[in-house]
């Protein structure tokens, strides 16, 4: 529908602008706060213009950390988060594309049951099964380790379902042509299915990377060694200091830094992401 109604245009833009402001304002405050001294935010008046400290807080967070809150330099925590987010994203994609491959292209006993069992796990996110999962991970000796951070999160019904739908759109004739061309199951998977689901994988990667990066409860539970703290839990520890006032400028600097990798991933993969969501060509 193409209509030129100035008032509606104005209204639509107004709503959008308000939406953007609501989202962007806290981010702006975080950036501003990181440039002020630690006490400016406790005075009751929140400053709206950059302070005089420049990038001091960032420099401090990246090099020395914040010893009063038991927070090591951010570099290590960011690296941990990166490892976890990448591990979760790649692990989820690898596992779910393989299980979707099995469910769509192989006839085995109880295939439908297997599919529905995977599907039902949608109702059991980490938060619901956190105690049994913790017990299993603890018994396997994976507390305070990267596998402990990653492995319990990589099974994904959503991604399996998504790949299943992608595979179902691939015409049978293509499968048969590959069979006649002498491609066995794994060759078919590698040469045909994986390239054809590339854009979907990219879209999924963006979503899953952010999911992994933003994990809070799980890393909080299983990491007690500061070597394995992730950035999201680290921020919480900084803001939660005992017997003193939180140093908001440092906390906000950490928040801004923690936001950067997801932003880079989203911006960098925007094209592929959109293509993966809307591209119907098979």
């Amino acid at each position: 529908m193409v209509e030129d109604r100035p008032f509606l245009n104005f209204l639509a833009h107004l709503v959008l602008v308000i939406g953007v402001l609501i989202v962007a304002f806290p981010v702006y405050i975080a950036v501003i706060a990181s440039t002020h001294g630690p006490d400016d935010f406790l005075s009751g008046m929140i400053p709206l213009l950059p302070g005089d400290r420049g990038l001091d807080a960032y420099r401090a967070m990246l090099t020395t950390g914040l010893s009063t809150s038991g927070a090591p330099p951010l570099g290590g925590m960011m690296l941990n988060s990166l490892i976890m987010a990448l591990g979760v994203a790649f692990g989820k994609i690898a596992i779910s594309i393989l299980s979707a491959f099995a469910i769509v292209y192989f006839r085995f006993p109880l295939r439908t049951l297997a599919f529905w069992m995977i599907f039902i796990t949608l109702m059991l996110p980490v938060e619901v099964r956190i105690f049994p999962t913790y017990k299993v991970v603890a018994d396997l000796g994976m507390l305070n380790s990267y596998p402990g951070l990653i492995v319990p999160l990589i099974a994904s019904a959503t991604a399996t379902f998504l790949f299943r739908q992608v595979f179902l759109t691939i015409p049978d004739e293509l499968v048969e042509a590959a069979r006649i061309d002498g491609a066995g199951p794994m060759k078919f998977f590698r040469d045909i299915l994986v390239p054809l689901s590339r854009t979907n994988m990219a879209a999924l990667f963006v979503i899953l990377f952010i999911y992994g990066w933003n994990q809070y409860l799980w890393p909080l539970l299983i990491t007690t060694d500061s070597k394995y703290y992730t950035i999201v839990t680290g921020i919480k520890r900084m803001a939660d200091v005992a017997d003193s006032v939180p140093q908001w400028n440092y906390v906000m600097a950490a928040v801004v830094l923690a936001m950067l990798p997801p932003v880079i991933v989203v911006v960098g993969m925007q094209k592929l992401f959109v293509k993966g969501l809307v591209d119907a060509e098979k």
Partner: protein, 350 residues
Amino acid sequence: MAGIVLEGVGKSYDGKTLAVQGINLTVADGEFVVLVGPSGCGKSTLLRMVAGLETISEGTVSIGDRVVNKVEPADRDIAMVFQNYALYPHMSVRQNLAYGLKNRKMDRAEIARRVDEAAKILEIGEYLDRKPRALSGGQRQRVAMGRAIVRDPAAFLFDEPLSNLDAKLRVTMRGEIRLLQKRLGTTSLYVTHDQVEAMTLADRLVVLNGGRVEQIGAPMDVYKRPASAFVAAFIGSPAMNLLPAVLSGGTVQFGGGRVAVGDGLPDGRITLGIRPEDLRPAAADEDGAFEMPVAYIEELGSQRLVHGSIEGEDVVCAVPAERPVGESLHLTADPALLHVFDAQSGARLN
């Protein structure tokens, strides 16, 4: 190069009813055989059994001298051209052609040589580096053919390869397939529901109906002497007129005239078949002439098809383009060109 032999081949999907049954067919080396029939007659199933994409429920399929019932499609030494082309969308034309060869661990220089040769034959050299989505329907069809040619297989299997093309392109591609097959001399099995395609392409036709063979023969033999009323109705355009009639003493009473159909036939109920082009306008008083009231006329340019009815049965008659047609037409037919079928079984009687 090799022939294909089918012996008592049958297919059942549920273990009870047979979708295809008792097919015996020998395709000679280098022969072009077309399987034709209405949708659901089992022609595609039969082709897919030869390809190895469907399991064979009964009987044996041999390619060359080898029974291939349990052989994987890739090892049957066949190449297939699909209705929707089934090109790999993410590969360039060159990669599409080379994929099957690469999987067979063929050496690179040989693959390049074969791809270039196929590209030359099919004149697709210009777009070897394009993706299939950048090609038109006809070009994709050529690439699909190319993928079959590079393999240099014992047999080509075609599964309605032209049905996604527009009418004009279909005629062109039909000619090209025919020429190509003659030139390469590769045994070919071709499935179509289009009887014109079947007639023009085939060395031999196999007419299928309800999972059984109705008739096997050269196109003109099938056309001239259809083995059953089904084949008679299916092959030929416009379709043959099939009229119920009663035979007594070698003649039938029909539309106010007596038509002699020949001696030696048992009296009783029959289906009389007359091709529209075998009906000849006659003078009103000519012996054996019958009258057909005209309903409407289809102009085809080269001839006109006159539609009418005789005793409640629709009849079509082809007359020369210039011939004027009035309210009704007197017609007669040469007894030698009449087809007599059993009214019940549809089997040919004369």
